[in-house]
């Protein structure tokens, strides 16, 4: 049983780490603000859920798990809000999202 929980939490932590890594990579490599934000938001949604889930499995049924759940809840509420505020601030300050190939072709037709 302990073995199974350890393996499960190991899987969750590793998957979370992978998501955080991909998020960081995307934030560095994506071409403009909106796509970079899209990549970075991966870190604090999927990455945070998986990592905190992994830690919760390690903590077991204790007060620590409850605190972690509260942290997770607040993260899930606040970080998308921050992303939304950032994106709308960027739009309001006049930064237009770049057109991709698909939109350009659609407009030309």
């Amino acid at each position: 049983m302990t073995m199974a929980i350890d393996i499960l939490s190991w899987v969750l932590l590793t998957a979370g780490g992978v998501f955080v890594f991909i998020g960081g990579l995307g934030a560095l490599r994506m071409p403009n603000l909106y796509t970079r934000m899209h990549a970075a938001s991966l870190t604090d949604t999927m990455g945070a859920v998986l990592v905190i889930g992994g830690i919760m499995l390690q903590a077991g049924l204790t007060l620590a798990t409850l605190k972690l759940a509260a942290i997770l809840l607040f993260l899930l509420i606040t970080s998308p809000t921050a992303s939304n505020a950032l994106a709308s601030a960027a739009i309001l300050s006049g930064l237009q999202p770049e057109e991709g190939k698909v939109e350009r072709r659609k407009r030309q037709e």
């Binding site: 607040f74 509420i77 606040t78 809000t81 939304n84 505020a85 709308s88």
Partner: protein
């Protein structure tokens, strides 16, 4: 493992410090300063200084970022051209760095039991706290009771700093409230940002509640007046950012805030005088109740409340002083 993590955090701090120096956009420098503070808080936590970490996170990463941004709104976003004395500055920094590095050679190893700090009064505090004060958090016992004078001094420093900022920034306080009410239609905070407003409104009560928890749970866990004051002030500042400053001033007028600034420090001093009137020394809480330990508990809760009230008042006064300045 802890050592590895500590080195990782310190390396990140060096990187963000270099980035702060290099960045010419002051806005990103402010955000990097906030990141620096957050890393510092994590570092304090690694060193088992949970109380200090909480303060650093609340004040360094939270409130001071807001104040810096308020100052930036007054000055502009870009750094003006560098000064001519670059070589002099470089020389001063190099010499200071070398002196500090030289000083670390004499520093005892981290956690060394023979270090002077563990030989002096530290063990006595740890040994006597359960007997004399009987609260689990020895940091609060030292801060509020054993070294009550020092903390009183700190509260008066915060008080004086707040008064100083008010003098410097808000020479036109008397006319401000009417001005703000006249401009109410134009300054409505983040009214057009729907999502942050809804979420912020949802979070404010919880932040406030957490502040009260930190305030009154300081005897048992990390926390106390300084941290709680910063957290409560943060919730009111969030309200001001969301609903507009005028609305926040209507909820907590400047009159009340000034009362908080003075009242907290006064409460602290009054507890000390009450001790004297009841036949003890200044700031000796043991005489406040028939049982010395209960007296200590009452005294600590009261003076922590005083600290929290003053810190909240000062931070909010400073925030409003900056915000009002931007509109004049």
């Amino acid at each position: 493992m802890i050592v590895l993590f500590g080195i990782f955090l310190l390396a990140l701090m060096v990187i963000s410090a270099l980035a702060i120096v290099r960045s010419e956009n002051l806005f990103s420098a402010v955000i990097l300063t906030s990141i620096f503070s957050l890393l510092m808080a994590a570092n304090f936590f690694l060193l088992d200084a949970a109380d200090v970490a909480l303060t650093e996170a609340a004040i360094g990463a939270g409130i001071s970022t807001v104040l810096f941004l308020g100052a930036l709104a007054l000055t502009g976003e870009h750094e003006r051209g560098g000064s001519k004395n670059r070589l002099l500055a470089l020389g001063v920094v190099t010499i200071t760095t070398l002196i500090v590095i030289y000083a670390t050679f004499d520093k005892p190893r981290l956690g060394d039991p023979d270090a002077p700090v563990h030989q002096h009064v530290g063990p006595w505090y740890l040994e006597k706290t359960p007997e004399l004060i009987d609260i689990p958090n020895a940091v609060t016992a030292v801060l509020a009771s054993f070294r009550g004078y020092d903390t009183l001094g700190e509260v008066f420093v915060v008080f004086t700093a707040g008064i100083g900022v008010l003098f410097l920034l808000s020479a036109r306080t008397t006319r401000r409230t009417e001005d703000l009410q006249a401009n109410h239609e134009t300054h409505q905070g983040l009214r057009h940002y729907l999502v942050p407003r809804v979420v912020g409104r949802m979070l404010i009560p919880f932040i406030f509640l957490f502040g009260l928890y930190v305030q009154f749970h300081g005897d048992y866990g990390p926390g106390g007046g300084f941290q709680a004051g910063a957290i409560v002030a943060a919730s009111v500042i969030l309200y001001a950012l969301l609903e507009g400053e005028a609305q926040a001033l209507r909820a907590l007028p400047m009159r009340v805030l000034k009362g908080l600034v003075a009242g907290g420090a006064l409460l602290y001093g009054a507890v000390g005088v009450a001790g004297m009137l009841l036949g003890g020394n200044f700031l000796d809480y043991s005489v406040l109740a028939s049982d010395p330990i209960t007296g200590q508990h009452i005294g600590i809760i009261l003076i922590e409340l005083g600290v929290g009230i003053t810190v909240t008042g000062v931070l909010l006064c400073v925030f409003h002083a900056f915000a009002a300045r931007g509109k004049v």
